[in-house]
Symmetry: C2
Subunit: 685 residues, 2 copies
Amino acid sequence: MRSLHAFAILALLPIAASADEGMWPYDNFPTDAVKKRLGSAPTQDWLDHVRLSSLRIAGGCSASFVSPNGLVMTNHHCAHRCIEQLSTGKNDHVKNGFFARAEKDELACPTMEMNQLIAIADVTARMELAKKGVADDKLHDAIRAEIARIEKECATGDDFRCEVVSLYHGGRYDLYTYRRYQDVRLVFAPEFATAFFGGDPDNFMFPRWDLDVTFVRVYKDGKPLKTDHWLRWTKAGVKAGDAVFVSGNPGKTSRLKTVAQLEYDRDVYLPTRLGYLNELRGYVAMYQTRGPEEKRHSTDKLFGIENSVKGLTGRHRTLADPRFFAALAAAEKDLRQKVDADPALKAAYGGAWDAIAKVTDKMRRYADETWAIELETSDLFGYARTLVRAADELPKPNGERLEEYTDSRLPELKQKLFSPAPVHDELETALLAFQLTKMRQVLGPDHPVVKRLLGPKSPAEVAAALVKGTALKDPKVRRALWDGGKAKVDATRDPLLDFVRSFDADARAVRKRWDSDIDGPLKKYGGQLAQARFKLYGTGQYPDATFTLRLSHGTVKGWTEPGSEREVKPFTYMAGAFERATGRDPFALPPTWLAAKGRLKLDTPLDFTADTDIIGGNSGSPVVGTDGDVVGLVFDGNIQSLGGEYGFDATVNRTVAVDARAIVEALGKIYGAGRLVDELTSSRP
Amino acid sequence: MRSLHAFAILALLPIAASADEGMWPYDNFPTDAVKKRLGSAPTQDWLDHVRLSSLRIAGGCSASFVSPNGLVMTNHHCAHRCIEQLSTGKNDHVKNGFFARAEKDELACPTMEMNQLIAIADVTARMELAKKGVADDKLHDAIRAEIARIEKECATGDDFRCEVVSLYHGGRYDLYTYRRYQDVRLVFAPEFATAFFGGDPDNFMFPRWDLDVTFVRVYKDGKPLKTDHWLRWTKAGVKAGDAVFVSGNPGKTSRLKTVAQLEYDRDVYLPTRLGYLNELRGYVAMYQTRGPEEKRHSTDKLFGIENSVKGLTGRHRTLADPRFFAALAAAEKDLRQKVDADPALKAAYGGAWDAIAKVTDKMRRYADETWAIELETSDLFGYARTLVRAADELPKPNGERLEEYTDSRLPELKQKLFSPAPVHDELETALLAFQLTKMRQVLGPDHPVVKRLLGPKSPAEVAAALVKGTALKDPKVRRALWDGGKAKVDATRDPLLDFVRSFDADARAVRKRWDSDIDGPLKKYGGQLAQARFKLYGTGQYPDATFTLRLSHGTVKGWTEPGSEREVKPFTYMAGAFERATGRDPFALPPTWLAAKGRLKLDTPLDFTADTDIIGGNSGSPVVGTDGDVVGLVFDGNIQSLGGEYGFDATVNRTVAVDARAIVEALGKIYGAGRLVDELTSSRP
C-alpha cells in the first residue's frame, strides 16, 4: 500500500508493445529483437528444452523440473496449501518446515496438479468458422461448444490436458496440449517464517530477504518421474547486467483493454472486489486470535486474501494515476484514428470501441448480482455446488456444459473435490456466514433468492446449521456422490446440497445472462480490435497474459525510485536477513537460521531483481541464464510491477527472485538437505 | 450496496443550484422561489422560531426542542453512544430501551452537547483583509489565526460557542454564534431492534419500518431548561403532497468541487477510506462473536463503521457513474467558458481550475502518509494524543493553535476526554493493534516512525502492553492531567503518553505540510471560483453543506425507481413492521411491540419520504409543516440520496423520516410513556 510512484510515462509505449518487454508465447518469440537487445538469443532447441522443463501448477502458479528424477522447484507460497493440508496441530510443517530425508518420506500433496506444455497449434480458422454468422448473444455458447469439441478431440486420457486459449481478446485461438501430473509429493519446504520473511508489510517490496522455495517431486506409476527435460543448476550464478529469461505462466494482464473497459475496472470491478477482500481480511485476521489451532488452519486463507488485497490495490492505484490513464487513452485514440483513416479498416473494425462501451454499460448493471450469486467464500459450499452442478452438467454433451465441467477440466475439478484436506467446522461456519451476509448485503434482503435462502433466520444461524448437518466434510462421501452421478445426487438429502439446489437455477440464469450479453460480444469486438492491430502493427506483438506458458527476457537490474531518486540495488545477501530480523512475526527468522548463522557464507546473494516482464501466476517460474541454467526462482514483483496489469514500465517494473546460490547454501548448511543439494548440483558442469 | 441506479441526468442542473433544491442558510432562504414552488413560504418570524427550536448535536447530528421544558427529539442512532455509555452488562438500555418514569430518573449523558444557533454575522470583509497579500503556503495559518481571533472575541463564556464558517469553499465567511448546552439527560429510548429495524441491510433503503427516535432533555443549573422556542406537535400529521421543511445540520457536500477534486475523491480518497473501513468492519464483526459482553460493547462501533461503509460506497458509486461524472464535467466546462469569455473574470479567476488541479497532485502524493500518521482507531490512543497535544497547544496564543485546541472548541474536547464511559481493554487492545498494523502497512515497515513505534515488537504486542500499562482508562486521571497542564503532562511517565510523544513531532510536520500546501491554497482558489459564480449567477445559490444549520423545502413524496419503473409509495404503516419481522436480528421486533400489537392502531403511518435536500448530519432533524408543527423526524435518506454529496437529483433523492403519529402511538401504547405523550401534545391546538 505504500504509494505507487508516478509512472515514468515516457517509458510507456502506447502504440504497440515493444520487443524490449513482453510475455511471449513460445511459438512467437521475438528472437531477432532479443538478439539486438541482449547480444544473443535462444535457439529453437533452447526454447524447446526450457519449455518442456517448465511447468504450470493448475491452481495458479509456475514451476520447473530441476533434476532428471522429476524434482520440481516452485515457491513455498505455491505449495502452501499442500504443506498446510499435510500439517496437523502436532506436526505443523508450515511453521516448522519439512524435509523428506529419504524418497520414501516424500508425502503426497492432496490437490496439486502439474502441467507440462507439449504442443501449441493454431485453431483460429476453425474457431472463426464456428463463429461465422452467429448472433452476438449466442456467441458465448457457440465459442464454448467449438472449444469443447476441439479439446475433447485432443484429450486422449486423463494424462493429457487440452485447452483452447483465446489470445489477443479473441483475435487468435491456440490449442495448448499439456501432459498432466497429479501424483506430486512434498520433498522440502523451509519454515513459513523465512519463506515469507517480512510478511504482508514486505510483500511486493524490495529489498527482500525471502527463501520462498519449495521442492516437490512428480511421480508416475508410484515412482519418481524420469524426464529428459529439466533445468541444470547454475554453477556461477548471476551478476548485475547478466541476460536472463523467465519461463512461466503469467495469469492475466489487461494491456489491450479499451478505455471503457479500463474505467469499468477502475470504478466497478476493483472497488467491489477490494471491498469484499478487505472486509474478509479483517474478519479472518480477528478469527486468528481465537487460538493457535484457529490461527494455524486459517493462515493460508489470510495469506491469500492479503496478497490479493495488495495486488488489486496496486492495480487500482495504477489506473487511478491520471497521467497513466491519459497515456492509455492516448494510445487508444491513436489506434482509432489510424483505423478511421482507412475506409476498409473503419468498415471492418471502426465500430468495435462503441460496441465495447455499450457492453460495459451492461457490465455495470449486472456486476453486483452476478458476483454475489456466484460467490463461494466457503470451501464446503464450493463442494456442494460442484456436486449439484456436476450432476446436471455431466449428462450433457461436452460442448454444452458450463466451462469448468467440460471433459478437459474434470481431473482438476475432481482432485479439488476429493481433497483429503481436513475441513474445519468453525472456520467453514464463519466463512459461510460471511458469504451469506455479503449476499444479503449486495442483493438486498428482499431479493427472492435471499428470502428463500435465509427465510426468517440470520446468516450465522443458517451457516451453523448447514455446516453442522452436512455430510460433505468427508471426502469419501463426496467421492461416492460424484461416482453415483445425477441419480445419487438427486436422491441425497443433505442440507448443504439442498441449499445449493434451492437457488441454482437462479444463479445459472444470472450467469447465463453475463455469458450471452457480455462475454460473447466482448470476444467478438475484442477480436476485431486485435485484427486491426495485426493489420496496422504486424503480428510481432505479444498477447495479454492468459495463464499459459510465456517467455520473457531482460537483465539482472535494480532501479531508481522516481521522486526520491533512491537507487535500489539488484541484490540482497543472507547477512541482510539477520540484520532485518526482530524476533517477531513477520520479521522473525526461524531457529534453524539462527543456529546455522556461524556456518553460513553470509555474503551469499539471497534475492535479486530483473527487468523481465511478469505478473501474478509467474510465481515459481525459473529464472534461467543464456546457457539455460537455472539461476533463480521468481517469487514476487516489486510494487510497481502491479501496474504491469495495464502496461509495462521498463524503468521501474521489476521481477523479484530467490537466488539459486542461496537455495543450495540454505539446503546444505541450514537444513541438512545434502541429498537434495546433490540431486540439484551433481550434473552441473 | 444494492446497485445505485443511473441518475436521471436531465434532472441535474449543472450550472447553478436551482431554488427547487438546496440546503439553505437561514439568512439566505429563497422565500420567493419557495412561494412559487409550494404556494406559500415561511415568514421571518417562522424562520426565527424554527431556527431557535433547532439544535445541533456536537458529535454530528441534529435535533429540536419539542416542549417548553427543554425536551429534545433526535434519533436513537444520534443518542446511541450515550445509551451505550449508560448501559452495563446487567442493564442494557441499547437492547431493552430506556424510559425515565419521572424527571428524577432522567440520566445524564456523559458526552452529549447541544448547540442552538442564535446569530449569524457576515465576517467576509474582515477575513479578506487578513488574507490580503499572504503567500499561498501561509494562507492556512493566516486564516486560522483570524478565525481564532474572531471566535475568541465572540465567545464570552462556556455557554457560547462561536464558529467562523467558511462557505462556498472560501467565498464567504460567516460567524455563527450558538448557545451551548452540555447537561443533557436521557428521557426515552426504544429498543435498538425497533430503532434500527432491518439493520445494515435496510440502511439507506425504503420502504422502512424504523422507530429511530430518542428523547433527551436539556438541563440548565440542574433544572429542565425553560425555552420559548420549541416545535409544537402535529395534530393531523401529513399526507402525500404536503409541503414540508427540514431544519437541520447537513454535514458536508461536495457539489462545488472541481473535476480534479472529484477525481481525487473517486480515485484516492474514497477507495482509501473504504479499504480501511471494510477491513475494520470484518475485524469488529468477528470480534462480536467472542461473547455477548464483547458484542454489547462493540455494537455502536460496528454500527458506525457499517453506516460509513454504506454511505461512502454510495458516494463512490455516484462518481463512478460515467454519465453523472460527465454532467459534472460539463457544468465545469460551461462555467469555465463563461469566465474565459470575460477578460476581467478571466484575469481574476481563470487560473483557479489549473491551480486546484496542481493542488490535487500534491494531495495524491501526501494522502497516505497524512492519513496513516493521524489515524486514531482506538479511543484510548485518542485520549493520549489529546492530552499530549493540549499540553503543547494551550500555552500558545489562541490563533496559533491547532484548530481543535482553539478556545471555542475546548468544551467539546473536554467533554469527550473526561467521558466516564467505560473503556474495554480487550476492544481497545484489538483496535490499537489494528491501527498500528494499518500504519505499518501504509507507511511501510521501514518508515522511521514505524520503526520507532514498533521496534522489534509486533503491533499486537505493542498494543497489549500499552493498553495494559496506561492509567488513562480512568477519567479522573485524564482530568488531573488536563488540569495539571503542560508541566504535569510532561512529567508523567505513562506508556501511552510516551508512545504518542515519540512521534508527535513527525505527525505534526506531516499535518502542517497538508495545511500549508493544500488546505490554504484550496481555500484561496475555491474562493475565487465562488466569486466567479456570484458574479455570473448571482448570490441566490446555496453553499455546500458545512455542518451548520440549514433549511430545506419540499413535499411528502415517493419516487419511481429508474430502470424497473417501480413506484415507491411515500408511507409505511405500523402493520408493515409486523409483516416484515422474522424474529431474528436485524428483523426481530422487540417483545414490547409483540405484546402491544393488539392495542395498536396498525394503520398509523410509521415512516415516510419527502423530496427535501438532506445529507449525513441531518439525522435527527425535525420535519415541520407550513404551520411550523413537527410532523416527522429525519433519520435517513434513500440509497439515491447518497449521491447528494455531489448533486441533487429531484426525481429520486429522498429524505426518510419517522412519522410523528407513530411516535406518540408507540410512546403511549407500547412504552407506557404517557408522561411524555402529555408533554408533547398538551399544548397543541
